[in-house]
Amino acid sequence: MPRIVVDPVTRIEGHLRIEAEVDNDTISTAWSAGTMFRGIELIIQGHDPREAWYWMQRICSVCTVVHGLASVRAVEDALQIEVPENARLVRNLIAGSQMIQDHVVHFYHLGALDWVDVTGVLKADPVKTAQLAASISDWPKAGAGHFTAVKDRVKALVDSGQLSLFTNGYWGHPAYKLPPEADLLAVSHYLDALEFQRDFIRIHAVLGGKNPHPQSFLVGGMSTAMDPNSPEAVINPERIDFLRERVQRAREFVDQVYLPDLLAIAPFYPEWTQVGEGVGNFLAYGGYPEGSIHDPSRYFMPRGIILDRDLSTVHPFTPDKVTEYVSRSWYAYTGGDEKARAPYEGETDPNYTGPEPPYKFLNVEDKYSWLKAPRYDNKAMEVGPLARLLVAYASGHKQAKAIVDSTLSTLKLPATALFSTLGRIAARALETKLFVDQMGVWLERLADNLSSGNLEIHNGALWDPATWPKSARGFGPHEAPRGSLGHWVEIENRLVKHYQVVAPTTWNGGPRDTSGQPGPYEAALPKTRLADPSRPLEILRTIHSFDPCLACAVHVLDGRGRRYTHLDPL
């Protein structure tokens, strides 16, 4: 059977390779492989756990923030530290803005070019484009003059013979279905979204000093000192106003650009509500606490599990049922690779047995990826916006239920349409709406605390490592843009003894396990028909719908006690 390879899968973070067997232009089997490995969990051993967040944050910068947050939570869980309400709000604001910015960038800059033919712009009529724009939204940058300028800009690019980032796209591919005016509208919004994300993420500069890699996390709270009367305080009334303005602009962008674009583009691709389902099991650790992190009942995004597409039951989640296989991954477990291990007991030794580069194909019958294969109660699970939205919907989350029902009704689709490539893309947009609305709630609560004199931002009772127990271990969960993220840390003699990360893309993009059960990417591709197997645009559509992040997904710890002694933190 002919084998096709997509490597590099671009418009993602990191290095992902897809191999697929094609039978009569239809994918019969697929393999997902992460092709890069660094070993950051090994590197963190022996360091001060209070600074682990700063190291772990470097796992990924597209998902900047999320590993920092999961790391401080893991250490706080180990040491039983509760953070003040203000720190919780600031964390929610930082993580919430990350969610919004990341989803917008995914839709316009990473995913859109799978559905929008940039060269279609040349055939578009700017006047008709303006009419189309006016029919779906009040967004102001929508006049015929504006669209003429955008079209001229694309034309100048094409005429120059230097297509820049658009070089060698699958332009003209028969799977592109949008009318030229919709192409022009989308390209215009591609540029608007670039501007939007750049301005919006200044929230991270205010609350974290910079982005990427904001720098305000602390075990026990945040470094964002609050004072209503100090111009030098990180959070003061002037900064609150600055944040309010960005949150308001985000609401406008999502309401007037992102959601209308989704609703305008989706009807041209109805078949994509039938393709790309995946494993049918969905996991959400839940997050964005409104109270203690130890009280999941007060999470803004609920915790739970859905099995076999059954939305009538939300099963409870317990961290103990998370395990990882390496039987098809380039690692070795002592005592054999067949049995899965839980993160606290996890061990890994990198053991590359793949082909010597340069190679044409991986040996997919053996080990073939740097990703491990995480399982929950031995089942492959999908994580991410769709999983979160389904868990919220099935849990009776008011806002989630309202927006899902109204969107399905507008598009005249049944709920089962969500189990698809397009469902994943839609869930991401709908979730963004939930977050732009909630950001305002968190921000006003912070503003109230600032004006009422509740200024506590850090719980320093256990900042001094001399106050710590000799050993402790903790779990730090977070719902990152791409899905459920967990950090597991073990501390001994004031230093990190053991560290493990199970990241969203490890769940979604991982390889087969010992029983041959495929991961969600691998399960989502079969049965997809390729209009032109030499230009497998359809593979990109489904894989991009998961929003892969490979830097996050590949990790390693060393459970065999190999450690190096580091400087004492004090």
């Binding site: 490597d7 900047t64 980032l165 000093g209 004072d227 497998p536």
Partner: protein, 386 residues
């Protein structure tokens, strides 16, 4: 000073920004680069008249932090860089093409523009096993060698591409190294930082477009304008240090009043970068303004040399309110003389000014010498006008 060609107005408007915006940008670039104001006109003319050079951006063992930083570019914006200034023909994270088509784009970019394109490298390169990072079935080292060897200029962007960064920290599981160690002998410009600050990268690219060469570099091959000054000396909280006003606990009165973070472990006195002046995200803030320590992320091998990040830097004689700023800055630098970035930069400038020899590294032993070298840096920053 002659006015630039007015024909460019049409181009500017077509590209979605006003002539005033454009000239403002050129003036800012001149300022960041430490060039005289009149250079703004040269920059404007160069940017408007030249055919777009080809850019290829490689990613190896990276977190895409430097890519994300580029997406935050404001003057020029990433859209202007990608669509108007360079033909950005390969960049995995944002390019349209995938798989074989992406590899073809890379191949034609480097073969059709041999010796003329800009190569940017992000992430470290694993020498431990070629299987630790492959793209299209090829090893990182093979790709880096093929692409960088024939480039007009090579930029290693971010800490990992410069010196191996976090990935190469002990026990360095993959044998990761920076680009200059992976490809010895190659002429590379290093833009350290975790991640790099896009204001500096944009300035470097603009300098190259305008003058067809890189700005003045230090012995680490980093642009002096960005890496030549100590953070502590540029810090807005410096007066509190001199006055003996320190944050003692996170969230305390001093923290709320923006006092000095030295006692919390701030590495500003050992770090060089223009972070406090160019700042981040359209000059909105920088880490110390966010209430957190500087972790010296633009310093050479900072992960190994600056951690534990919350431990106070070694005590300095006279530390406190009664010592002048210059003495303290000097004492800190001398305290870590042999290996620190500051020392190396300083040495490089001195050497250059004397005889243009980049390899000699005189030892600095007194605050007076530091002052002398600071003057040298000031002069070094504007050497490009000649």
């Amino acid at each position: 000073m002659s006015a630039p060609d007015w024909d460019l107005v049409e181009t500017l408007e077509r590209n979605g920004y006003s002539r005033r915006d454009f000239l403002t940008f050129c003036t800012k670039m001149a300022a960041v680069l430490g060039l005289p104001a009149a250079s703004a006109v040269e920059i404007a003319e160069a940017l408007e008249t030249k055919r777009r050079p080809v850019m290829v951006w490689l990613e190896f063992q990276d977190c895409a932090g430097n890519t994300e930083s580029m997406l935050r570019a404001s003057h020029p914006t990433i859209a202007q860089l990608v669509l108007d200034r360079f033909s950005w023909e390969y960049h995995e994270t944002i390019m349209a093409a995938a798989g074989e088509e992406a590899e073809k784009a890379l191949h034609s970019a480097i073969t059709q523009n041999k010796g003329q394109y800009v190569a940017v490298v992000e992430g470290s390169i694993p020498l431990g096993n070629p299987g630790y990072c492959t793209i299209g079935g090829r090893s990182s080292l093979d790709i880096a060698r093929e692409v960088c060897t024939d480039a007009a200029t090579v930029i290693a962007i971010g800490a990992c591409a410069w010196d191996g960064g976090l990935v190469s920290c002990s026990p360095n599981p993959t044998g990761a190294v920076g680009l200059e160690e992976a490809l010895p002998g190659l002429d590379i410009v290093n833009l350290g930082g975790c991640p790099h600050n896009v204001a500096d990268t944009a300035a470097v690219l603009v300098h190259w477009l305008t003058y067809n060469r890189m700005p003045a570099l230090d012995s680490y091959h980093r642009p002096l304008f960005a890496y030549g000054s100590i953070i502590h000396d540029q810090c807005e909280r410096r007066a509190h240090y001199d006055a003996g006003e320190f944050v003692e606990h996170w969230g305390d009165e001093g923290h709320r009043q923006g006092w000095c973070l030295y006692k919390m472990g701030c590495k500003g006195p050992h770090a060089t970068y223009n972070c406090p002046t160019v700042r981040w995200n359209e000059q909105t803030s920088w880490p110390i303004k966010g209430g957190q320590n500087c972790f010296a992320c633009a310093s050479h091998r900072f992960w190994d040399t600056m951690s534990p990040f919350y431990r106070r830097l070694p005590d300095v004689p006279g530390f406190g309110a009664d010592v002048s700023a210059g003495e303290i800055g000097g004492a800190f630098v001398v305290g870590v003389a042999a290996a620190t970035t500051a020392h190396a930069i300083v040495s490089a400038v001195r050497s250059r000014l004397r005889k243009g020899d980049e390899h000699e590294s005189p030892t600095i032993t007194s605050p007076d010498q530091i002052k002398e070298v600071r003057h040298a840096q000031d002069r070094g920053g504007s050497r490009d006008e000649d």
